[in-house]
């Protein structure tokens, strides 16, 4: 299926979850300082593995950066 991750189109398997997308973007990350939103709604870290994606889903994954 086709989804948009951080503004870029990606082709993913039908079993893709928020967790698998985060891993594909960040590699083996401990998740600290990382957060994810699916279609404009925040997905709590504990639900990443259980939150499947559907065709056309828009995922935003953000990390801590300098600012403010």
């Amino acid at each position: 299926m086709r989804v948009v991750v951080n503004g870029q189109a990606r082709e993913l398997g039908n079993d893709a979850t928020v967790a698998s997308v985060v891993e594909s973007v960040y590699g083996d990350h401990d998740g600290r300082g990382v957060a994810a939103a699916l279609d404009g709604e925040v997905v709590p870290r504990g639900l990443w593995e259980w939150t499947g994606l559907s065709e056309g889903a828009r995922v935003e994954i953000v990390v801590a950066v300098q600012g403010g």
């Binding site: 960040y26 935003e60 994954i61 953000v62 990390v63 801590a64 950066v65 300098q66 600012g67 403010g68």
Partner: protein, 260 residues
């Protein structure tokens, strides 16, 4: 002895909050952080930049400072609310420096969106520290909806123009029931001292330190200025007068009339 600052029940010895934006690398940030003696540092959330190395969280953790996430770059209440919720997930803190700006050129707060976002986030049990204009009425509205502090600008973010309307800042301080943190506009140490002399409870400073020629020296300088300003305020300044008032007694002044 400097009294601790209390924001939402948290006691802080330092009156300087360090913004981490603009430092050329993590090493300079770490040194400036030590020199500033700040206990709280702001951070932002962005999509991963593949060229970035190391996490800023490692730097802040090593320095033992608390993270204050911001909503920098948000133009609407909706974006700011989602960003705050992302920050809560990413950093496991309910504290949020709420920024909702009106345009890219001035980075001035959008008052209408700001109050709407503040109200929603307070309802969602966030500790909301809003970046606001130097408008005492807006500050009151933000306090009324439950913000834990108000953070007026002295002048636009990164402008280094100091405090353009000290009278408004004074009015905000007089009427506020929550801490007032001067956020934005500090260009150098004297601006930070002035903010504290006006009655602000703390100063939040990023660009003045991070973009200084020597950020570590400026961090120390602004830390000392914040302490000096607070001390000067508690010491009680003399009133301003239009004419001179001699400090040397006139009594006992010798007379040098030439003999006639």
């Amino acid at each position: 002895m400097i009294e601790p600052l209390v924001i939402a029940g948290r006691h802080l010895r330092s009156r300087l909050i360090l913004g981490t934006g603009g430092f050329v690398n993590h090493e300079v940030l770490a040194e400036a952080l030590t020199a500033s003696r700040a206990e709280i540092c702001t951070v932002a959330l962005r999509r991963l930049d593949p060229s970035s190395r190391g996490s800023i969280l490692d730097v802040l953790e090593a320095a033992g400072v608390e993270v204050l996430p911001n909503t920098a770059g948000c133009f609407t209440a909706r974006d700011a609310i989602i960003t705050a919720q992302l920050a809560r997930e990413a950093f496991e803190t309910d504290w949020i420096k709420l920024e909702v700006i009106g345009d890219d050129k001035t980075l001035l707060p959008d008052a209408v969106e700001l109050v709407a976002a503040a109200e929603a986030l307070v309802d969602d049990r966030f500790v909301v520290l809003p970046y606001t204009t130097d408008d005492p009425i807006l500050a009151r509205r933000l306090e009324d909806v439950g913000c834990a502090a108000v953070m007026p600008l002295g002048s636009p973010i990164g402008s280094g123009m100091g405090i353009r309307n000290p009278y408004n800042i004074s009015i905000m301080v007089e009427q506020a029931g929550v801490p007032v943190v001067l956020d934005a506009g500090v260009g150098t140490a004297s601006d930070a001292a002035f903010a504290m002399e006006l009655g602000c409870d703390a100063v939040l400073c990023a660009s003045a330190i991070s973009r200084a020629h020597d950020p570590v020296a400026m961090a120390r300088s602004i830390r000392l200025a914040v302490e000096a300003g607070l001390l000067a305020r508690s010491a009680g300044r003399i009133p301003r007068r239009r004419y001179a008032e001699a400090s040397t007694p006139e009594e006992g002044l010798p007379v040098f009339d030439a003999p006639s």
